[in-house]
């Protein structure tokens, strides 16, 4: 197969789950090219295979068939250890359920990916983690534990963690699924800023308004991509955030 110029090049990717005798086809031959600098929103009904697809792209899972090139690397030929390195160096993964370490401060969570490579010393690591936290607006919460942070803040810790190793692509599976509109828009703001800096983003979402912050929308149905279109009326979080109605806490309480 000739090397693709795309950042992500997927052909005929499939994933079946075996449950006893029954085989369930969660992905049925998905092909997709994503260019460097793209910002793709993956949509589709529940159970259509979006998470399955994202886990494969994030090298967290193995496909049953097909091919997958990431940044020119044939991912399916890599060993477990090489996959770990790839996740560490090139991919930032964000989960719907945050998946940050409990009883571990925000800054230590952000440091975690840097502890699994040997590029920086303790001081540089601290500075880098702090810079990442600052970029998601959490500089003042560095020493807070997850239990002391709101959902939106925890998700921003997870985003900071996904950023620290300067990944080429950020993959987010329903990053705003557990958040209210304001927190969601704040996260879209961060994503758009990152995207402006050239980081490729792939994001699963159920909300059409969130999907409009992306550049392209990909639609899944029954384990297949049914459409892949550019966003026509793209929204920008910088503009949308001020439009949100201000909630006065006193009014809510009375």
């Amino acid at each position: 197969m000739e090397a693709s110029r795309s950042l992500i090049s997927v052909k005929d990717l499939s994933r079946t789950y075996k449950m006893g005798e029954i085989e369930f086809y969660a992905l049925r031959g998905v092909s997709l090219e994503i260019q460097k600098g793209d910002f793709a929103a993956v949509m589709g009904p529940s159970g259509s295979g979006k998470s399955t697809f994202m886990n494969l792209l994030g090298c967290l899972d193995h496909p049953t068939g097909g091919s997958y090139f990431l940044d020119g690397v044939d991912v399916l030929k890599l060993s477990k250890n090489q996959l770990a390195e790839l996740r560490n160096q090139k991919i930032g993964f964000i989960f719907q359920s945050f998946n940050i370490l409990a009883r571990t401060s925000a800054i230590e969570n952000v440091e975690l990916p840097m502890l699994y490579n040997n590029k920086l010393n303790t001081k540089e690591r601290k500075e880098k983690a702090m810079a990442a936290l600052k970029s998601v607006g959490l500089a003042d919460r560095a020493d807070h534990l997850p239990s002391q942070l709101s959902g939106g803040q925890q998700q921003r810790v997870a985003i900071a963690r996904s950023l620290v190793n300067d990944p080429v692509v950020i993959m987010a599976d329903e990053p705003t699924g557990n958040l209210d509109t304001r927190s969601s828009y704040e996260i879209m703001d961060i994503f758009q800023q990152l995207n402006e800096k050239g980081i490729t983003i792939i994001m699963v979402t159920h909300e059409t308004d969130i999907a409009q912050f992306a550049r392209t929308n990909i639609l899944f149905r029954d384990g297949q991509i049914v459409s892949n279109v550019p966003v026509t009326e793209r929204k920008f979080a910088k503009e949308e955030l001020p439009k949100l109605p201000e909630i006065n806490p006193r009014e809510v309480l009375t």
Binding site: N55, G58, L60, D61, H62, K80, N81, A84, E85, R87, N88, Q89, F93, F95, N99, I100, L101, R103, T104, E108, L112, P113, L115, Y116, N117, N118, R161, N165
Partner: protein
Amino acid sequence: MRIVNLLKIAYRSLSKNKLRVLLTMLGIIIGVASVIAMLAIGEGSKQNIQASVSSLGTNSVMIYPGSSNMGGVRMGAGSHSTLTIKDVEAITAKCEYVTDVSPVVQRSSQIIAGNQNWHTNVIGAYGQYFSIRNLTISSGVGYSTTDEKVAAKVCIIGLTVSTNLFGAGTDPVGKYIRINSIPFKVIGLLDKKGQNTFGQDQDDIIIAPFNTVQKRMLSTIYLNSILASAKSEKDIDKAKEQITSIIRTEHRLTPATEDDFTVRSQADIANIFGSISNIMTILLASIAGISLIVGGIGIMNIMLVSVTERTREIGIRMAVGAKGRDVLIQFMIESVFISILGGLIGIVLGILISVLVGRFGGWPVVITPTSILLSFLFSSAVGIFFGWYPARKAAALNPIDALRYE
């Protein structure tokens, strides 16, 4: 991957789970401490018994009336009356492997001195009895052959008797006591020997010349036992054989009849008690072993549960780039730390318990390095294995499976 980073990761993980670490350690601490304490108690009593038995005299040979296959060791007065002073004379004359021989008779008697009275065993024996049993006189003298010949009313008393009759610190030598109403002059005081393993007070004793006790206090010609000492340790068995044949001849036993007496050496008795204390040590060791296994199961349990509950954590680590090896090393560092620290605390605690048992329980304890090493190695191995095994299982999962783990 720098090991320093993994140490940092393990350190953070340990310091964030202090209770879990403590609980896991507790299993190891209890396992190690109980084994050390149990074995120390077992070993202590074993050595104590050996010391008591050898206080009977290292080369001594005892002859009791009655046959040996009617029961174990006969320590009390013989209910069978077969030994007489003739046997003693025959052994003295014919046995070349013994140095000292003494008949032994004893009678439990009422002792009176002034307005004090005491009840104890009076032993009648030759002067050789002292050297056979390693008894030494701290004040006064032993009795002479003349005393023996004329059945002099003299005696040598132990410290307990002296204290009870004359008060602590008083030298009894030269004073008079009445044994069953017969006045005796105290001519010597024995050195203190203390209690033996069986709780007998070895200082609660009065020794008088054989003839005196037999003729003036007893109305029998039979002896309670005969005590002899072999020339040297290697002569003991030959001495036993020779004594047996001498007494058989003396008693005119036909080859078909059984011995009507029993010959035992101090070594035989030491062996019997040695095997008793071995059984006890085995018993204690198995109790300790059980507690170690129970402790081990506790360790396994906590390790398995904690690693299982951390499967999600392992998933998170792998998702951000931890290799299976990194996860394993982290868990190994944690397990080794917990096992070794727990083991060390267990050793300290075990020694402490042993010392306390020794001091307040009045029970002798001897702490052996083997027991320390054994229990430490075992519980460490359990801790490390059961920390490593589930972690290896988790590290072998796909990251997504570890993340999804419920």
